[in-house]
């Protein structure tokens, strides 16, 4: 598809250097699906849908900073939605999120809850100011937060909070996770006896978004994350690069 033009209808500051942009068109999106967002004159970058009509942007460079500088009435383009989404559980699920992974986590939390599942969502951040969607998700799930500096909730890594929750509630039937890869890798480690029950949503360098260019392929399956993923089950990610490295725009390896 060619890009579609969207107009910003609302901009909400979520935290330090993080904002949600809502736009004038809603898409039929499933949790984990993403768009290729075209910031006119700058670049086109992948971004998960955080709402059926919105994205939550964390400024880390030129294109994301340019997106953050957009305000009501400004326009940008999008191709999508693309990708293979989460399977939405209907029994019980623990969802672990952090960083730019909170968009899929929010949609998955809402979809699982709508499906009648018992949902526990754990949100991790460095500090309280970086926590997003706590209030939004508390309406439909048991939400717990962890901050590394202890400014809110559990003090420490969100995986420590996951251990506490597992002790308290017993092992979940399903696990979903999206966020920094070392975090997701640590989540998967805790369920290494049944990796097929764990769904993980990956980020890789994307140029086409539709399974042609090869910039997003992961080792050692060679699977293109933009079309086979971004959501994988843990048993599809063993013996590969998951949690270890990714590749940049020139296909050079970068270790986490």
């Amino acid at each position: 598809m060619r890009p579609i033009t969207l107009e910003v209808t609302d901009r909400v500051k979520e935290g330090d250097g993080i904002a949600t942009l809502r736009f004038d068109r809603s898409f039929d999106v499933s949790p984990g699906e993403f768009g290729m967002f075209w910031v006119h004159g700058v670049d086109e970058i992948p971004m998960s849908f955080a709402y059926d009509d919105g994205v939550t942007v964390r400024g880390v460079g030129e294109a994301t900073d340019a997106m953050l500088s957009l305000s009501e009435g400004d326009t940008f383009g999008v191709r999508g939605p693309f990708g293979t989404p989460f399977d939405v559980p209907d029994d019980d699920v623990v969802i672990v999120g952090g960083g730019t992974g909170m968009a899929p986590v929010a949609l998955l939390t809402e979809a699982a809850s709508a499906n009648g599942a018992d949902v526990t969502t754990l949100i991790g951040a460095g500090t309280a100011d970086e926590l997003v969607f706590e209030e939004r998700l508390s309406r439909v799930a048991d939400v717990r937060v962890a901050t590394e500096d202890g400014t809110a909730g559990y003090e420490g890594l969100v995986t420590g909070l996951l251990d506490d929750v597992t002790d308290e509630k017993g092992a979940p039937s399903n696990v979903g996770s999206c966020g920094p890869e070392p975090m997701m890798s640590a989540v998967l480690d805790r369920f290494d006896d049944r990796p097929g029950d764990v769904q993980l949503c990956l980020e890789r360098y994307m140029k086409c978004g539709v399974g042609i260019c090869g910039s997003c392929c992961i080792d050692d399956t060679g699977s293109p994350v933009c079309s086979d993923g971004p959501v994988y089950r843990g048993d599809e990610l063993t013996n590969g690069e998951f949690g270890v490295y990714h590749r940049d725009g020139a296909a050079r390896k970068k270790y986490f």
Binding site: S215, I218, T221, S223, A250, A251
Partner: protein
Amino acid sequence: MSVEVSGIGFDDPVLLASGILGSTGASLNRALRSGAGGVVTKSIGPRERTGHPGPNVFVDDSEEYALNAVGLSNPSDAFTDEVEKVEGPTVVSVFGGTADEFADVAGTFAPYADAFELNVSCPHAEGYGVDIGADAELTRDVTAAVDEAVDAPVWVKMTPDVTDVTEIGVAAQEGGADAVVATNTLSAMAIDVESGRPILGNAHGGMSGSALKPVAVRCVYDLYDALDIPIVGVGGVSSAEDALEYMLAGARAVEVGTAVWDGVEVLGEIADGIETYKKDNDLSHDELVGRAHELTPKEDGDGGEG
């Protein structure tokens, strides 16, 4: 089903095209597992490049074509770690700005390449690609330099953006090419009407997909008449029928690019379809290749369309 091109044997005549799911050893192996008889790597150059700003690639709503301006992104020498993992016939695509750069890059990859494909035809990276491949003399020099530097067969990839593709094909053959590949993408542009901007970050790009096929088939047909070396057809192959069209025009093998968009399994499906056609029509591969020329009425053979 095995087919030989320039002395290299392939399990089947359907190869993965350059720049398509071909930046890592694992993705190239995935194409081989899906039924490709061989793979062509992403074009590798003398220096690492991140490529152009996005949008880099889109498939048109009609699904008849894609436009891309990836910008020859590549990790240069670091790609040796990837190509050494490939478990099948491997054609390493190389590019450079000068004959020496082509020869240097090819030399680096000589231990891993069953053949080389020279990208003198990318339409969207200044100083590279078509800036060489639209010029017969430069094409001859670059081909000769690589031919001198490596033992493996050298394939030269043609641009369709020239008045007479056979002039460039002949120059490649004179330079020592062992095969030509026709074609790379056609120089193109698309503009987003709502924003008024060219869609590709680089504005200019290359068109691939079904819409390219009649242009590239014509190139293959004309090259078959003009050359003694084998031809590999590429451009808009998404089915066995498409591949057979190229073979009837004179291609010994085809490469598949944009069509993997529908799933990489298409590679094996095309190979199977070609085999079925040969059996049903009781044709050997040699009989199939170029057969349209025997069936072309002489008075229609002047290349005119009137």
